[in-house]
Symmetry: C2
């Protein structure tokens, strides 16, 4: 008869064999005693909070559970001090608090606003503001969007529109709320109003359409980028690969002239980055920010192709194979010109199995993508999982607000982690979902699995640096800086939450 | 430069490598031309229906989509004629239409009913009927459960209670509705009222508690079992492994005496099975029904262990490892007695990762389970997936009503199919969910993936026979019978839906 002791031994070895592919297992034997202790502490806190925090009922949240729909549960989640490594997949125009962007806009005398339909209490959520910088303050006989005599479609200076916003609609405060709502998605919209993939993508699109005329104004853009860096640093992120959509040819200057070319956008980005770096140096925190790079992409529905990713809802737009010939030619041209602009494709951002969006995974990999953006359906493909384990990396975001997972327990991430696929957590469009930084993302991953511990989070953060487009030397520097901060973080846990 | 033609060739070979583990790929080259054609026909119908049927709005179903929450979308799904192979995981006490069971109960003069709290419109859903067979018709001065003078908790003959059910609560029809509701789960309950794992399991438990006193009455049981066989056959199922819970020691006889032992239950099961077999023979349909077996199991929370599965919510009850010593001894005793009662454990019926319910998968496999009941979290475990691919089999049900997947696109099944794990679709508790037979289950699988075609369904049906507990010879006979019916089904598709 198999003794219980023999059985226990077999059991440990089977569990070990099953989990041995996980990235953190590669370095488990290298962990310091302190990390082992800190890991135990945070696991205990998780278990305790599962009972004390997540089983309590909150006035606005009837049945919370760890890993619940993010927008609903967000207010329960607190910020952490963990160093997060790199943020590799975020769309620059959706990375800064919408409130902050609106404040920047208010400072521009040339910023105007209009509506095309009469505003009323019942249509505030769908009758959205249009913004535009104009060469000089427009003289308008009417100063309010909500006045009966307001000529629909005419531009009114932002400050006037705000000051004279009807008190029935909440006055100036109501105006701010209306603007912010037009550029973000709230829980009842995400899980109620726009409860299908098509509808939520439509709302998602309208958010960008509204905010783009604020974002594309040089003085706003400049301070926006600065705030982006500062808030990422505050959250423990030390390197960023941001994505800019270059469909708009020109940005608007402070004078309201639409004449700022792409080249200048990149110059502003670099200038601000260097200023923030200096700022950090002067504070003796140089190791906390290693810089940022811009990734360019084009919308999936554009024919001319000059960038290296295509973006838009994969389920309804043309798949990668449609552009295969152009993409192969683009690679060839790079060789001819001796430049290296790697592909970093969105792919598999879908629940479909064998659909075009799912099949994009094959094409992304065959075309030599450096990383896979999302890869939500990747875990279903044994061969691709193997390929990605050996050489690839997946960028992940919660994808739950855009109707893919209904909550973290249904997210495919644990399957990829158990299969040893390197993963970098990404926030994608944090401003729209109100999830600034990466703390929320690391938190959601941490509570979605009992296997996941502190060392898993460390492995994820290291991989985000490892699989960035940083050069070898920069990467080594970034990893060394990370290790220093990681050890400080371990110390912090032990001191703050360890045995007293 | 890689030519587009080269690229296309690489692409086909990558997709092929990725999908080559799938069970139906083993026999793709053996398919008849007719099956290839029929496969194309049903794929075309699926694509057409995705537009015509699933994109339409229905009065009671605002946003249907293929694979939506099952209870909501059920009415859109039609029955098919496909032979389904075997049903390997179904709890006998939840396999027959609740309406049918109530009709059987009405025929028993000894059947009585009571409530413990006054019935009202507002508490009908939670103030449930209790049923009981009593030795002789109880004389009661009050004939109605809803009369003001009804002494709470006293037994009233079922027929009286029904006839005199208050017209305010719907009269006799309202009585039927109330009884049926107490023994099944409807969409608004599944997705609204009981919207957490704990709550839906509680409702699930109360359903069994109510129905068990009808089920455990010999004359009802007899006709229930007959109806079970007949309805399975009508749905194209030709062999069944049913589970009976043997916690109740005795069943009630027609005379209201509680004295029918387990041995007799099994005799009734076998007697009715043989009668139905004869019935089918006489109709010249002998090949359509090959029989049934009973599997015994015990509730997880019972200490004494005599059966070979444990059942109950895995997330809150004791895990398999808790019983490891007893289970090892049970195996040893079987060897000593030269009997063979294989383990067929429930395991991994959870969204958890590394939780006790998830870890049950390791123990089920180490203890040599013949199949895994549910295995909802199996796809996340690379080593276990490999083991199951080589020798195992997973039983699956939609698991969506019990809060695991929110809809088919989020179901882990496609991941297992792509990994080549043999799967048998099972209906588990069809009566409670109103999903009699396996048609709904095959349909949901078919529409949840574009990779899945007719031949996938055939492979699933064949595997349900292959991995049953039938002896070698019986199995061969069952498979041969299946092939005959499968070819008839192909013919039917070609004739009915093929080019006219």
């Amino acid at each position: 008869m198999t003794s219980l002791a023999d059985y226990q031994a077999q059991r440990i070895s089977l569990i070990d064999a099953d989990l041995s592919l996980r990235r953190e297992y590669l370095t488990l034997h290298l962990r310091s005693d302190k990390e082992v202790e800190a890991d135990k502490i945070v696991r205990d806190i998780r278990a305790l909070e599962a009972e004390t925090i997540w089983k309590a009922d909150y006035p606005s949240i009837p049945h919370p559970f760890p890993g619940m729909e993010f927008l609903t549960g967000k207010s329960i989640i607190m910020k952490t001090k963990m160093p997060k490594g790199a943020l590799l997949h975020a769309h620059l125009d959706a990375t800064v608090d919408v409130d902050f962007m609106l404040e920047l806009a208010k400072k521009q005398p040339g910023m105007h606003v209009r509506v095309r339909h009469p505003l009323s209490k019942s249509n505030l959520a769908t009758n959205l503001p249009e913004f535009r910088m104009l060469p000089q303050e427009q003289l308008s006989s009417v100063n309010s969007l909500t006045d009966l005599s307001y000529p629909l479609g005419s531009w009114i200076p932002l400050e006037n529109a705000r000051s004279f916003f009807s008190s029935e609609l909440g006055g100036a405060e109501g105006f701010d709320k209306w603007c912010i709502g037009s550029m973000s998605i709230n829980p009842s919209e995400a899980y109620g109003t726009y409860n299908t993939l098509e509808k939520i993508w439509k709302k998602f699109g309208s958010v960008f359409q509204t905010s783009t005329n604020l974002f594309h104004v040089e003085p706003i853009f400049t301070e926006y980028v600065r705030q982006f860096f500062r808030s990422m640093i505050a959250d423990g992120i030390s390197y960023v690969e941001a994505r800019i959509n270059f469909t708009a040819k020109l940005m608007c200057g402070a004078d309201g002239q639409n004449n700022v070319p792409h080249r200048v956008w990149l110059q502003v980005f670099e200038k601000v980055m260097n200023e923030v770096k200096d700022e950090m140096m002067q504070q003796g925190r140089g190791g906390e920010f290693l810089g940022a790079r811009v990734r360019i992409f084009l919308f999936r529905f554009l024919a001319g192709l000059t960038g290296f990713d295509l973006v838009g809802p994969e389920n309804t737009m043309q798949p990668l194979i449609y552009y295969a010939e152009q993409l192969l030619r683009f690679q060839e041209r790079q060789k001819e010109e001796s430049v290296d602009i790697p592909f970093i494709f969105h792919a598999g951002e879908t629940t479909g199995d064998g659909t075009e969006a799912d099949i994009n995974l094959y094409d992304a990999i065959l075309l030599g993508t450096k990383r896979i953006g999302h890869g939500y359906s990747l875990h279903r493909h044994p061969k691709l999982v193997e390929t990605c384990r050996q050489k690839g990396l997946t960028g992940f975001d919660r994808n739950e607000i855009l109707r893919l997972a209904s909550s973290m327990p249904m997210h495919p991430l644990p399957a990829l982690l158990n299969n040893g696929v390197p993963v970098a957590l990404c926030s994608d469009d944090p401003a729209i979902f109100g999830s600034m930084g990466l703390t929320y993302d690391f938190f959601q991953v941490f509570i979605a699995s009992e296997i996941t511990g502190l060392s898993t989070l460390g492995a994820l953060a290291r991989d985000s640096i490892e699989f960035s487009t940083l050069e070898k030397e920069e990467k080594e520097r970034a990893l060394a800086a990370f290790e220093r901060r990681w050890n400080e973080f371990i110390e912090y846990i032990l001191v703050e939450y360890g045995r007293k």
